[in-house]
Symmetry: C2
């Protein structure tokens, strides 16, 4: 097992421990040091000077240093786990697999949404579990769930801890003790069936480790969300993740051929590759269940040969409308590249301002010369067999040119590849400089998408424009389908240091109401968690919610499985 990086308690990374190999660790960091966010000598340098000046003017933002409280100052209530429950867990899993020390509990508190980070940076860990358990097998998880059901202990499954929708909230209306079930000990390749392109893995395995295990066989999974360095395969399944190449490779849903779901009522083996018509699809009930039905303890995933040819490049459109229309035409003819990422004018502008160096200058000049100075940047990528990639690229390029796009070349594409996991690191630094930084996402049919785009932007601007503050709302299409596309929105604003949580909650509520009213889906790939559950009935109907409740009632009659998320109370 290769050394895996750890997320910090108050942000993404890199942790203090990685910086500590260069500089001496801070005095007094104690046990928590390894999970402490690396101190940024000057958070204001997170952005190039020009971008900083531009943002100050645009947002009404006063750049300022707003670092998190030291990890040692985070408030943590004593564990509420009864000694009898602790003894039962120890008997079941062994002493090493039951932890209620401070670093363990802190590092399993919540996820990585802006709201999570606000709380943690302010020293609040009231959502930390009472203990962290690390079972080692399906049988142990199944026994654990039965025990927890009997004892009235809430179970929050923990994969990578990267949820951005409050999926690890652990809140319970009955205020029962909460254990985090960390699946890190179940993280190996269990079987590989090369002819059938199937790999069987533990749910706690991360993407990089799986890719490393598959590489010698010439295989890849190819699922690359922004959380790739930290998120786990079980987490992808539980949240219906999409990756940056999902337009071509398929959503994570499409890569799951089968899985094992341990529930308080027993173990389900779901999925019959390659396909079955034997009744309704129960596998699809486990995907996106977010821990509310049980714990995913094994996954059978579809892998593929590592692509012999990959090609990323940039194109520029004169307008957002032209870009969308052209992507729609590509989609209709099944010509979408494997990676598709169309930035709106605001995001294009921000990307160019943030880019530094000669390359960026040349690109900006080139766009202006072609009257694309206020246009939209499209990054596309193809992967696969060289002859097929060539034919698809040629056909797609012709559609792109017909749509008025100008080819910018591979440099833009390769730069995107290099920075594909960078945004959450940057977020930490922007948050330390007094900024609100959050994202949200949706999807809609091609016909509805422009209205959803307008509605979300209007709602966010309306909610976040107060007292001299104006938000910057940037968006891009991140995934294309024959019937529509996703929309990923990034928001920057001067943070309200008095009421930062309320500032975002108000904006999020307005944006969600607006996107649902316009015909978007509640979430394209971030899942429901705590943050979206007030709207679930609007998405699937009250009767749809009741169907989910009926399934939960059968599998988890005492309601111990992640009760805080997905289903409204």
């Amino acid at each position: 097992m290769p050394e895996q990086p750890e997320l910090t308690i108050q942000g993404w990374g890199p942790p203090a421990a990685r910086v500590a190999t260069v500089a001496a660790p801070e005095d007094g960091a104690g046990d928590d040091g390894v999970l402490e966010l690396a101190p940024d000598p000057d958070p204001l340098t997170a952005l190039p000077k020009a971008a900083r000046k531009h943002l100050s003017r645009e947002l009404g933002w006063t750049p300022r240093s707003t670092p998190p409280v030291p990890v040692r100052d985070i408030r943590l209530a004593p564990s509420r786990l009864p000694a009898s429950a602790r003894a039962a867990f120890t008997a079941l899993l062994g002493e090493d697999a039951v932890a209620d020390d401070r670093p363990s509990r802190l590092s399993h508190a919540g996820g990585k949404s802006y709201l999570d980070l606000l709380r943690r940076r302010a020293g609040d860990a009231s959502d930390a579990p009472d203990a962290v358990l690390t079972p080692g097998s399906t049988e142990q998880v199944a026994a654990l769930l039965r025990t927890c059901s009997d004892l009235g202990v809430v179970v929050v499954p923990f994969g990578g801890g990267t949820s951005v929708v409050g999926g690890l909230a652990g809140t319970d209306v009955d205020d029962r003790p909460v254990v985090s079930v960390d699946l890190r000990r179940m993280s190996s390749v269990r079987a590989l069936d090369v002819p059938s392109s199937l790999v069987t893995v533990g749910p706690g395995m991360r993407g990089p480790a799986l890719e490393q295990a598959l590489a010698p066989e010439g295989l890849t999974l190819g699922h690359l969300p922004q959380s790739w360095e930290f998120a786990t395969l079980g987490g992808y399944a539980a949240t219906r993740s999409a990756g940056q190449s999902s337009t071509g490779v398929g959503r994570f849903d499409d890569l799951v051929a089968g899985l094992t779901l341990a529930t308080p009522s027993g173990v389900l083996e779901l999925g019959n590759p390659p396909a079955s018509a034997a009744g309704p699809d129960l596998l699809g009930l486990a995907l996106g269940s977010e821990g509310t039905l049980g714990v995913i303890t094994e996954l059978r995933l579809r892998v593929r040969p590592r692509p012999r040819s990959t090609h990323h490049e940039g194109w520029a459109f004169r307008s957002w409308a032209a870009g969308l229309a052209t992507l729609q035409r590509l989609a209709r003819h099944d010509l979408l590249p494997d990676v598709v990422r169309l930035s709106d004018p605001d995001e294009t502008d921000a990307n160019l301002r943030q880019a530094t160096g000669a390359g960026a200058r040349v690109l900006r000049g080139s766009l202006r010369a072609r009257r694309r100075g206020d246009g939209c940047l499209l990054v596309v990528g193809w992967e696969g067999l060289p002859t097929i990639v060539r034919a698809r690229r040629a056909a797609a390029s012709s559609v792109l040119r017909d749509g008025g796009a100008v080819r910018l070349g591979t440099r833009v594409g390769e730069s995107w590849v290099r920075h594909r996991f960078a945004a959450p690191y940057l977020r930490d630094r922007l948050m330390s400089a007094g900024l609100l930084v959050e994202t949200l996402e949706t999807a809609a049919t091609w016909t509805t998408l422009p209205a959803v785009y307008d509605a979300v932007r209007r709602a966010l601007r309306g909610a976040l424009t107060t007292g001299g503050r104006r938000p910057l709302v940037m968006a891009h299409v991140s995934h294309g389908y024959p019937t529509g596309a996703s929309l990923y929105v990034t928001v920057l604003a001067d943070r309200d240091d008095e009421l930062p949580l309320q500032q975002w909650l108000t904006a999020k509520r307005a944006a969600t109401d607006a996107l649902l009213a316009a015909g978007g889906t509640l979430t394209h790939h971030h899942a429901v968690g705590v943050d979206h559950r007030p709207w679930l009935a609007q998405e699937v109907g009250p009767l749809g919610v009741d169907v989910l409740r009926a399934v939960k009632q059968r599998l988890d009659p005492r309601g111990i499985c992640n009760p805080g998320v997905l289903l409204p109370d």
Copy 2:
């Protein structure tokens, strides 16, 4: 609405009415004449003489005339529908939408499995519904289901009536009255969103009518199962159908972007195109629900541009193993053609014997000359944009040649296209000549498929070899996936005229036990119906069955929705 052909009561077709336009109708055919199987002057001519002689020798079959009883002699019990229920339905739907006349009831009795046809040909219509209702809207269906739930009347949804697994059995342990809810009045295109490639249709619409409606827009659905002339779009969804081009176009599951399901507890609107991560997939619960949760009253389907280029051709392999290994390699590299159909040696031999004319003679000679005389025939087809088809064909052809396949040219492919819907018509004539003719299907991973193939053949041969009889068991791969393929098995045997039902039930039981034990799925695209339900718990586990029961209990608490199928009693 174009004139649509009707299935006959005792078989597939063509009905007597179509023949009657040439010859005068039989005396005394009465009301039932339109649904009577066309009389075959000599059923023994169903096969060319050489094939007939060959089969007699192989099967121990005595060709003989075994026609069905005249439709007027089919026994039909009086309708059990209480007058009060009839009055309630009339009040709800109008007089024209409630029928309990003999032809209506007979033409809605059961489906088109071999067992169904045996019963109907012998004059048994004990599974006929007590009345046939034809609602016209989602609201009417929803009201109807509430009424039936209140009155204790069983509802069997009726689309095309082409089930081959007893999906329309209408059996009920409580022996309540049964109504067939025929969706023919809900069969129009309701909306077309061209940019989003989405069409909204009524569930009673058939494939040919939809293709006719889409053609002027340059669009197609492209779902072409063997039942295409008769089956309905709602039926495809309820049974998780696959079509002959599903390897390329996708299973029907993949074409459903959303649907409306009316249940006794209310109406569900399911599916959020293009994609959503808002909780588990409820759409997948409706797909394959086979009428047990309610009635599908509307579908939102993904359409695509009509292909600019189509190309079908034949190839020959030296052996089944070489054919499977090569398809697996194509699948692994995402190079499978849109149509893939690999016949085993027995099916290849039978196809060549059945083929007549100069073309068939040339092909047989050519195969013998290339030492493929006992080989396997592969039919492949590509559709789409010419440049993409060219690149995919070239890449696939290179893999096929590497696998030892010899190209036979387009004639074989085009002949397959011409006869793609012919088999069920031939079955009628073979049944009239004293033969058992039935099919079954499964799917398995590439690694497991050879064992499943062997096990099924062994089981069928074991069960059907008695007293001088020997079955002919033929198989082909009909759909390919990256992880595996489907297997479609056709069985011919001399019929046991004393105990024909038992003869097949014994064989089916042996085959199903064998394929499940070897790792196949219970059904790849025929659904569960009555015939497969004893094995559902083996497929999804007892807890999986309980989850389905919990969903049914919430939506259909009185158990009126197609109680005879899918879920074991």
